[in-house]
């Protein structure tokens, strides 16, 4: 009975096992070789045997982040996106750390292929961030941005601003500082708007070229309605002189000399004043310019470009008209160099038959 009960108990215990066991003879357990390093800890990274553990750890972390993000977006019904929704996402503009900087950070050498794998994952994460941001899920977008921030360089804004023209600043006195160049000349131009006695600057009271005409027309109509027409044509016209138009006198100083004194030729003076004429701002600004290099044509052209850029800074509305008049274009024509075998840039020596 006892034996039977024991056997039942053993069979009950054995029946609970979900895997088979093998019998190990006790003799083979006597001289078991122990590992010399069994006390040491295991390596931290699961990628230790790849030879590049930190790189693959980084890659795996990014892949995990991407998986989690895509799952979250799928739950929010934002993935997969149809084409018309994809078109509504802002375009990508990513700036990532370059290969050298990233290699320093992970303390391993990076080839182009390995770097591109990381960048590919970062671009996908950035796309998910843009989708979350445009759809209004700003917390998710911010958490993604925090993850991606570690991969963005410190000078990201500077990199994005490359190729864009710096905006012209106007200082506390209302002066703008611009530079114009033509041929070998460089002009540094300070333009300040004229201020009335009331304190209004010419920029605030500036009228567009159409406005004065409208005012004249409306003034003319008012006059016609107010006064009665003369009964006969032989009646004398009242001798009323026209109201004097107050024209502000503005100065243009070039290298501390007035425009008329600096440029003797009318053509050069005309070049300098042309931006004001085209924009319709003739009496509105004072100009102080320092110009170096080149001759009269170059210097006058450089000042003209400087003035045009300054006018755009003060009155942005005139940009279209100045651009159409090609006054905002830095003339790229420069003196062509002389070549060997030629007398001048293009002129060849007299051809001799023999």
């Amino acid at each position: 009975m006892n034996v039977l009960q024991q056997m039942q108990r053993v069979s009950a215990i054995v029946g609970r096992r979900t895997y088979a066991t093998t019998f190990v003879p006790p003799a083979s357990l006597e001289n078991v070789a122990r590992r010399r390093d069994s006390g040491k800890p295991l390596p931290q990274s699961p990628n230790i045997y790849t030879g590049r553990p930190s790189y693959y750890d980084q890659l795996n972390a990014l892949e995990t982040a991407l998986q989690h993000t895509q799952r979250a977006l799928r739950n929010l019904q934002l993935l997969p996106l149809p084409q018309f929704a994809r078109d509504a996402i802002p375009p990508p503009n990513p700036v990532w750390k370059n290969k050298r900087v990233l290699a320093e950070e992970i303390a391993e050498s990076l080839t182009v292929t390995r770097y591109r794998r990381v960048i590919n994952l970062l671009n996908q994460l950035d796309e998910c961030r843009r989708i979350a941001d445009v759809a209004g899920h700003h917390s998710l977008a911010e958490s993604l941005a925090r993850v991606l921030q570690d991969f963005e360089p410190a000078n990201k804004e500077a990199v994005l601003a490359r190729g864009k023209r710096k905006p012209v600043k106007i200082d506390e006195y209302g002066r703008s500082y611009t530079i114009g160049r033509r041929k070998e000349s460089t002009a540094r131009v300070w333009v300040i708007p004229v201020q009335d006695k009331t304190g209004e600057t010419s920029t605030t009271s500036v009228q567009t070229p159409e406005a004065p005409l409208e005012d004249e027309l409306s003034a003319g109509e008012v006059e016609n309605e107010g006064s009665k027409a003369p009964e006969s044509l032989l009646d004398p016209v009242p001798d009323v002189p026209p109201a004097p138009v107050e024209v502000t006198t503005t100065n243009i100083l070039i290298n501390n000399t007035p425009l008329v004194q600096y440029f003797a030729h009318q053509a050069d003076r005309e070049t300098v004043v042309r931006p004001f004429k085209i924009a319709g701002l003739l009496g509105a600004f004072n100009v102080f310019a320092i110009v170096r290099g080149g001759g009269t044509t170059g210097q006058s052209g450089a000042i003209s470009l400087g003035i045009a850029r300054a006018l755009v800074a003060h009155v942005p509305k005139v940009e279209t008209i100045l651009r159409k008049a090609k006054l905002l274009r830095r003339d790229p024509r420069m003196v062509e160099r002389k070549k060997t075998g030629l007398a001048k840039a293009r002129e060849a020596y007299t051809w001799v038959k023999r």
Partner: protein, 303 residues
């Protein structure tokens, strides 16, 4: 003559004129998609919210009515990602699952290694058919080895150096926690035989670099790894195909090495066994204050 050519040319031109299909197919949607027919351009956040709400409504509608439809749903039927994310335990493994994974398909009959003969069932369509009656117990034996190694605190390396095997070995190693490692890219020759150069003297001195078990999902391109394991007396488990001598690894699993599904099945089975071993080891060493094994955060994506 010229008339006939002209008529022939005209006829061919008429035949070659392509039928103009409507560019705007908003009214002629022949397939059921989960996007609304009116494609409102999404400009504000409210538009996006509306878009999401419509999609969610459609999905809830489909989910509601799916219970009245077929019992074969996306969850209950096979999907390719199930093999990776829902691994089978060794006890619930059957011939049918091996067959469904295509583990019985070997290489060409002319390429069969004579040492593979015991594991070959026969030939069909010019390829060697692997005998799954041998594969199943050998796979379960390998699972036992993995479990026992993990239960003694051993480190196990999963090697699968093809792009489709990369996520497989990663997930398998993750199931083993701090005791699991994986190599999804190339195995660097000299990892074990030239450890000082590869890891550096201080890491070799401080950490346990030599693994206790190596599992190879594609042994043929990883002969360097097999040789290094043999030098260091590390037991190996590997999927051997019909063109391979099964004696290259200690515990061969005769199966199709080209099939991703088979590799996922094998890696899943072995990793589940390994997870059981890890749990046994952790139960035994519950007061793990002095063994110095730091526990890594386990990212469990599956059951």
């Amino acid at each position: 003559m010229s008339l006939s050519i002209r008529s022939w040319a005209a006829a061919s031109a008429h035949c070659s004129r392509r039928a103009r299909c409507p560019k705007n197919i908003n009214g002629a949607v022949r397939y059921l998609s989960n996007t609304s027919p009116e494609q409102v351009p999404l400009q504000t956040e409210e538009d996006w919210s509306q878009f999401q709400v419509k999609r969610a409504e459609y999905k809830s509608l489909v989910d509601h009515f799916s219970q009245y439809g077929s019992t074969q749903t996306r969850d209950s039927t096979f999907q390719p990602h199930h093999e990776l994310n829902r691994p089978k335990a060794p006890s619930e493994l059957a011939l049918s699952s091996l067959m469904a994974a295509g583990a019985h398909m070997g290489h060409s009959q002319t390429l069969m290694n004579p040492n593979f003969m015991p594991y070959a069932y026969g030939v069909r369509s010019g390829i060697t058919i692997i005998d799954l009656d041998h594969t199943l117990p050998l796979l379960r034996r390998a699972a036992k080895v993995v479990r026992a190694t993990a239960a003694k605190g051993g480190s196990i390396v999963f090697i699968g150096t093809r792009p489709d095997l990369r996520p497989t070995v990663r997930k398998a190693a993750e199931r083993l926690g701090s005791q699991g490692f994986h190599v999804g890219e190339r195995w660097m020759p000299g990892t074990l035989t030239n450890k000082l150069a590869l890891f550096g003297g201080d890491i070799v001195a401080k950490e346990r670099i030599v693994p206790d078990l190596v599992i190879l999902l594609n042994p043929i391109p990883n002969m360097h790894a097999i040789r290094e394991c043999a030098y260091d007396h590390i037991p190996t488990i590997g999927i051997v195909d019909s063109n391979v001598d099964p004696r290259i690894v200690m515990y061969p699993i005769p199966a199709n090495d080209e099939s991703t599904r088979t590799a996922e099945l094998v890696a899943g089975v072995l990793s589940i066994a390994g997870r059981e071993g890890v749990m046994l080891y952790q139960e035994e060493h519950l007061q793990a204050g002095n063994d110095g094994q730091r526990q890594r955060v386990r990212q469990t994506f599956s059951s």
